[in-house]
Subunit: 148 residues, 2 copies
């Protein structure tokens, strides 16, 4: 039985490795640790969370500077998405190489969850044409009240 999430993450890891290597970048301990941590991640992570997680890992670690530099590199290559819910911290997540993507719900208590909706997705088809611009992507942020 295939576990979708796991495969997606393995795919991302392989894809990321290939892209970075293909660009002539070296496979180094720090960046690899960041990439592997992201691959393990389902949700949005902050740079600080990666630093902390790696500090607690005896097999890998990376300084704050390295984490930020790795994230910047990954972002340049379109391998991670940067997401900013407006709390002053940037959050990152792997970009699924298969093209699948999801969006986010920010709850009033600050929690962030992922969601996807085919119907909403299809509303973006043809939008670029209607607006007369060359769309390269889209993000949706829903705000929701936490049910009490």
């Amino acid at each position: 039985m295939r576990v979708a999430g796991d495969d997606c993450h393995r795919d991302w890891l392989e894809h990321t490795d290939a892209v970075l290597r293909g660009a002539g970048l070296r496979t180094t301990a720090g960046r690899s640790a960041v990439v592997e941590h992201l691959a393990r991640q389902r949700c949005l992570v902050t740079a600080q969370e990666i630093v902390d997680a790696l500090r607690g890992d005896e097999h890998a670690s990376a300084s704050t500077a390295t984490v930020y530099r790795a994230l910047e590199t990954l972002h340049e290559f379109g391998l991670v998405r940067r997401f900013d819910a407006g709390e002053g911290v940037a959050r990152y997540e792997p970009v699924d190489p298969s093209g699948d993507h999801h969006h986010h719900i920010v709850f009033d208590d600050g929690a962030v969850e992922a969601f996807s909706d085919r119907e909403l997705e299809s509303a973006f088809e043809g939008l670029g044409e209607r607006l007369g611009v060359d769309l390269t992507g889209h993000d949706v942020i829903l705000r929701a009240r936490r049910p009490e």
Copy 2:
């Protein structure tokens, strides 16, 4: 002849005044200057831009701290939207009291433009129900390539 934009801004100004006053807040020079500047604004503004604009205005001014505090207050009351395109600066804009709203396109050169699209908007109807959450709002951020 009615000029839509102007009316909308006047409406927002009056609405904002009423809400703040209704909450027992005082009508003070600093906050009023910020509110009036926002009302005059069509596009997304940063806190710093407001400070600078007011510094050049002989009739009004507000310190950095006051501008941030005013924006925070307005945001709490849902009178402004905070928008973060991921460049590390928060941008604010009035929330139209009539319920009308628009979204944003971030171009690869960093420019941000507003847009609205009825078709896209209608895709959000029923979304909360489909997802089983109580939606209070939504933001859409399009990414686009600047035509060369």
